[in-house]
Symmetry: D2
Subunit: 343 residues, 4 copies
């Protein structure tokens, strides 16, 4: 018997349904759809069974060719975790006209605000001086501000210009800074539309007072910022890392921080959790953040709201407008854990 | 003998000329004016002598009625320190058509950016989590973000809406927050022009997710934010103090911080330097900043540039446009040390 | 023999290649691709032949199932005219992973600026008073401004919130107006992100001082604005029509214009060219524009630049970022001539 | 007997009280002040009598030295018409600490919106094509858009950067244009704060796609834009005149318009009303507006609200914040009728 409402198969692990759906959103989902909730159910045949009728999959269950071919009613697969893992046969999904949607944009506001906060922290030594204050070494008024700088009127470089870069560029508008971005996947016209000048990486690194590393990891971007690139940074530059650890060579980074030539704020780390004895824990020109930029309550609940909005649109024969449409060209090209994922 | 160029009497203490004039600005000043530099000269008669010819006074020397009356050529007095002290007979200056200018606006960008940085710090626990990280107690990803919130879409209250409030409101535009302000000196129309809704103090305090205290100190504003007002704050509210310590009752503030009901970032303190044993140094929900919001190099040099710009305009018979014109109604009403002043 | 560079089949009619490609853009296209230029060639077999090797089709030739199946190397079809006509088997294209791209966004800036200009024209009677002036009936200063209103602080309604609505909303930001939009295809969250409140159509019509009709035509939107809806408009409302004529009942519109209850600026007409004797030509509260909002030189050349940018990206295995990706759910649903199309 | 409430002498001619005070504003004024309403009363002694007690003068009565000296309680003079006429002994007012306030800013929004509307009109030929349409000569779609241009990304020059220039610069922000301004009274830093680059007049004229003439008239600015300056304009430039007629040489302007080299929108005229036979009425590349940019109902009522706001502040010993404080250096330097004044 076919259910009267379209079936949504919910299998959110490693995400948790309670983290992404408010009670209001959950009720909304259930009122429009027949939700087959398999969270915590470790039973492949339950998934197979639900797929037979499923209009949508919300979550990250394995979806190989076979399963997709048998899911005759499937219209959309929604990843609610962060990245597109290779446990789905995306090619077959695309051929069958199944929408593949991701939730990366849900984290963009959270990461952009955090990145701005980290930049101002470095510009003004907020964390460093709080530490001194607690140790009774505080310096008042202009005695401790010789290296303080404004964002206003500065040159700001963005390495990577995706969702986070766009939100960040919007937040930076009132500062009247000169915005530069390096993004090999984007023509200059796209950057220009956001008030940003396109530039090559060495130019961005050598001209900017603030450098935000926002690049997604692909095979091309591994150690995109190595020793040579760090040497291009201006004396006194501030570096903010909030995307993926593998984009940067951390050994080289720690060296320039120890020199005091550059200051950095870092939210992603090559190993998480970090060793207790890691020397980074002693570096003074460093603001340390344990992978906290994206995964905040409002971002998680945004995912649930996006899922409801887009499922309803697709149910009415309309295209999704809130979640991110997976690009066939890119799926499978990403490699690392996403911002907001559990370690 | 009257000098060929207008005479500028420079007596900047407690400010330092080298801190406010870049070498370029100093050269510019000297090219248009005859600078009588009395910095470090402790000699009243030297001042009297220079005043006889002076077109401008740049600095804070005593200017009593007598001196002003004898300064026949004086057109402008420029305070380069921060606040208007009662060592000048402002009434006489106004009657004689002498412009009285202040440099408070030079600090506005610096304070506004710092205030925004402190707000994001509180929103996301940046300083607190860096401290944990250094102590080996870091919590990764969503384990430490349960109290993280966005500025985006939040309600933000401003207590006081002068230069700093305006700059801050501009920086907050892209966050699409609801901005409320309490300022008893301003009609609602002025706030509206900046995208801010006027409200009474209790409303601002009880509705806002973030409260910025930006009020200047007058006799009316002493302990404007006392225990009763702090009790109005929402559970989880973030309070940012960057104006004057006497606006707030610190004992009451420490109590609500110790409770954990509210978090705060504080840049001004009732006593500076603070006692080594002050319990504030142990409060976890507090970001401590030792009066560093305003007095940064770019702000100080801005003063020198403003002085040059406005002296040149006045020399050409035009009104000043960069420094702040003292309001006869307000001079003498301020009481505390300004942001950026030495303790 | 397979050509060394990917083959682009160019068949732009009814668009003209010289109108969309600057000489620089054309040279750029030719340097990266083997361009088979069939503009003006009326020969089906030439198209068949070129399709065998084609990597891209730029233009609007018929592409039925048969042709698409035989176009083994085809990766992308780019419509450079405006709308997706039913002469392509889109379903087959999607199944074969062929990108289908449109150029609608190229007109968005042009239409949004024009729409804003028309709104200010109506707000202030610019065209009407120029006409009076030329006839010697001009009224100076406040004698002719009794019905002049500001956009600043007004309530502005948008009927439809696609590309044009977004650009227009951005242009309206500094006016601090209250923006309302009706768009049945979009959840409220999308509007909110642009600073716009979602509302039902009757609410938008009855509350707004300015109403912009920007809706695309589908079977649902035919005569979306009929007599009943026009009656909801406020006395003195200004109506701006720049999308599709069939969205509005023109007979009803002319009646409310003749009454003087509403003023309108209209860029699209039920019949183009309009009859010489059409009574609209005499209506005073009407600004008449002969379908000129979108098709300006900069918009046309933008299409060519977008084509070059996206073809290069696709050639490098990356997703397109400038042209509009056709939504499988919507292709075939549109009906009318696009903005910018020839009559 | 001294009245219990402060006395406001109202003598608004040539302005009309009913035009600037809404009934709400009038009631508000009367509730805080004793209003001595001498509108329409042509009796010098009534003014003398009222002045004896007056706290404020709202309007433009003659105030010579004698009257000011006898007005012992006078604290503020508010011009509600537009310009500071030489019928007041401003010098004495300043010496006596009397505030002199003007209402010029009330017109700024109205003029800035009109100026933007005129610029878009010229960019797109709105008025011209409406005229053609009514004459049955309309050209559809791209046939009549060969000279249409975008503001987006253009270079825009402002001649004069006062209140109107600032509002206009704010309205232009989303267009991402390059803004240049020539203003000999302002240092570059003031322009930079508004996102505008300072430039000399010839540079502004020769580089800009759009030139807004916003300069106030002084002896220095008479025919600031003469034949020589008009020759500097780019082929196809658009010129918008909304400030004062005497800034421009109209004979020279008509010549470049007749040539078709430049298009213009003009709101101020050397003679108002203009002769019926003036050849300007036949010029095609001209949008004609009979001095309507400033004097609209909302602007007039803004004056009344500003008067109430500032009188209340001054009554409470606070400085005014809404009306424009007269600069002693400039009063008496202006010459022409203001925008919004009756001809």
């Amino acid at each position: 018997m076919t259910p009267s409402r379209p079936v949504v198969l919910l299998k959110p692990e490693p995400q948790a349904a309670s983290r992404i759906f408010t009670s209001v959103a959950r009720a909304r989902l259930e009122s429009s759809f027949e939700v087959v909730d398999l969270e915590g159910v470790d039973n492949a045949s339950a998934i197979d069974e639900a797929l037979a009728d499923a209009f949508a999959v919300v979550g990250q269950p394995d979806l190989d060719t076979d399963r997709l071919v048998r899911a005759q009613h499937l219209r959309v697969i929604i990843n609610v975790e962060g990245n597109f893992f290779p446990n789905v046969d995306y090619q077959t999904a695309f051929q069958r006209g199944i929408r593949v949607l991701g939730c990366g944009t849900a984290y963009a506001d959270a990461v952009a605000e955090m990145a701005l906060g980290l930049a101002i922290d470095l510009a003004r030594g907020i964390t460093r001086e709080d530490r001194s204050f607690r140790e009774g070494r505080e310096r008042y008024v202009s005695e401790g501000t010789h290296d303080s700088i404004l964002l206003r009127g500065s040159t700001i470089g963005l390495v990577g210009f995706g969702n986070i870069g766009r939100r960040l560029a919007a937040l930076l508008q009132p500062f009247r800074a000169h915005l530069l971005a390096y993004d090999p996947w984007l023509p200059a016209a796209v950057l220009k539309e956001h008030g940003v000048d396109a530039a090559r990486l060495p130019w961005v690194l050598s001209r900017s007072d603030f450098v935000f590393v926002l690049a997604t990891v692909t095979s091309d971007s591994e150690h995109l910022i190595g020793a040579k690139e760090l040497d291009l940074l201006k004396q006194g530059a501030r570096l903010i890392l909030v995307s993926r650890a593998s984009v940067v060579d951390y050994d080289a980074l720690y060296r320039v921080l120890a020199d005091g030539r550059v200051q950095a704020a870092v939210d992603v780390w090559p190993q998480e959790p970090m060793s207790r004895k890691d020397p980074a824990r002693k570096l003074d020109g460093l603001v340390m953040s344990p992978h906290r930029a994206g995964g905040i309550p409002q971002a998680f609940f945004e995912i649930g709201d996006m899922v409801c909005d887009d499922l309803e649109l697709i149910g009415h024969g309309l295209p999704p407008v809130r979640l991110q449409v997976a690009a066939p060209e890119l799926v499978g090209r990403y490699r690392n854990r996403p911002v907001g994922a559990r370690p």
